[in-house]
Symmetry: C2
Subunit: 322 residues, 2 copies
Amino acid sequence: MAVYTEVTDDALRAFLAAYDLGALVAFRGIAEGVENSNYSLRTDTGDFILTLYEKRVDPAELPWFLGLMEHLAGRGISCPRPVAGRDGASLRGLCGRAAAITTFLPGVWPRQVRAWHCAPLGEALAALHLAGADYAPVRPNALGPAGWPKLLDRALDSAAAVEALSPGLGARLRAALARILAGWPDSLPRGHIHADLFPDNVFFLERRLSGLIDFYFAATDLLAYDLAVCLNAWCFGADFSFDVGKARALLGGYAARRPLSAAERAALPVLAQGAALRFTLTRLYDWVHTPPGALVVRKDPMDYVRRLEFHLGVGDAGAYGI
Amino acid sequence: MAVYTEVTDDALRAFLAAYDLGALVAFRGIAEGVENSNYSLRTDTGDFILTLYEKRVDPAELPWFLGLMEHLAGRGISCPRPVAGRDGASLRGLCGRAAAITTFLPGVWPRQVRAWHCAPLGEALAALHLAGADYAPVRPNALGPAGWPKLLDRALDSAAAVEALSPGLGARLRAALARILAGWPDSLPRGHIHADLFPDNVFFLERRLSGLIDFYFAATDLLAYDLAVCLNAWCFGADFSFDVGKARALLGGYAARRPLSAAERAALPVLAQGAALRFTLTRLYDWVHTPPGALVVRKDPMDYVRRLEFHLGVGDAGAYGI
């Protein structure tokens, strides 16, 4: 469900009057996405996406996100490009929310990840990192390692709910966090990362990657951490078995465009542990804080606890196929 | 939220192979709709809607619904037209559901009903009734008056929940049902009705009605009952005040294409009471039977109790502006 704010006809008409997009042809809510309200918008000049930014997104940060997308699109990355109104602005108010129109990307996100998705994914991630190098503004990663202790504390405020999920889970997560932070590599190459490149944010057409979407978790952080997120999001089966063939394809595709340094390769296990912990913590927080009856699908934190346990057992990057 | 069944890439590819629609370009879940899973589907030959029929729809009835849509589209009604595969069939299996592709209709459904929507709505409803006259198959209306006593009984199984909603509500609904059934007009003109023509099922482009969708409550029943559904769905304000201007426009638009008989006009109050009761009952049933925590928006039954109370107080069709 991804329409939290209903856009009235009059409000839409007034909003579109600020653009040179021609007459409205169709306007439908999009089911995908969980953070913002997204509509597919067709006018007689083409197809677009209208996004209303909901409460998780800080409006003050939107210029950074939209600026990054504009920058990346200008350097050939296939990502949504903000569409400016006649006043030159791509961000304006609609129904009490900040809102923007972006270009429509063709493609379909893979409901089932196959090994052949992973090399193009790695290549696209490397291309994104390289294209972002000269985007000057910086956004610290609030969901990076500096934010994890507080996230864990807030989840463990509901100690009984966490214990109910898995006995001893709180203590195991505290131990994992301490170990990960102690081994965290701070001197690896940094840049702008997507930070949430799950399958539903990557479009394919035939066997070609056709676009990357949803940059609203993007931040400035370790580039190899983005790969670690993808190792978690793309390389495990439904039974939580790790698919080393997918990992090899992902890392190989990446390295073909941006070779990993020896330090980055060596850090992959702890980066993958950190990425698994990050998604465990946000899911755990949502799990224990979502009231029963809320209209939100709570994602099972244990899916990422299992990934975390896998990565904690990894000796070196050889386990990822390189 | 209207994606209950996720369609995997492989399943979609195999499904589309049965059609001559060209290569897949985009595939996105549609947020609107509550009964079935709907996807917007683009191929290099055009835009379509893919619907997977979920549990409320009896697969045995789908040929009737799709046949009606095909029939109406063939007679110039702007409604989704089933797209046949190479084998001539427009209904086949996908991910364990019956599924069909229909044509895409341009337009936007009105989030705020204005008086100017109502005359075109009435005209389109009359055109639908006239165009359906020579569609021979019949579908009894399971949600018509014959079904209301059982629906009320099943809702009142949870007497405490109904009482909690409004003290005395159960008794008031029993009395209303008895009065409505006693006055129900059985000899009015019959035909195929849409039976669920709410604003989210009617598209407009500029100020023109561009299409009618979602025929999965359609049935064979009193034609004027369809108007009574629209009186309820389109002619009340957010404060439940009745807008006689909208009603006059609706009924006038309808009568311009299909004049109402004196008996139909006289029956409007009881038909409107019945329509209000029908939506009260299904909402009430869902209200008392939806477990807390279910991922479904429960619509407040009291919205229709208030409409019912208005119509119970109406003396004659003059209250509707005619």
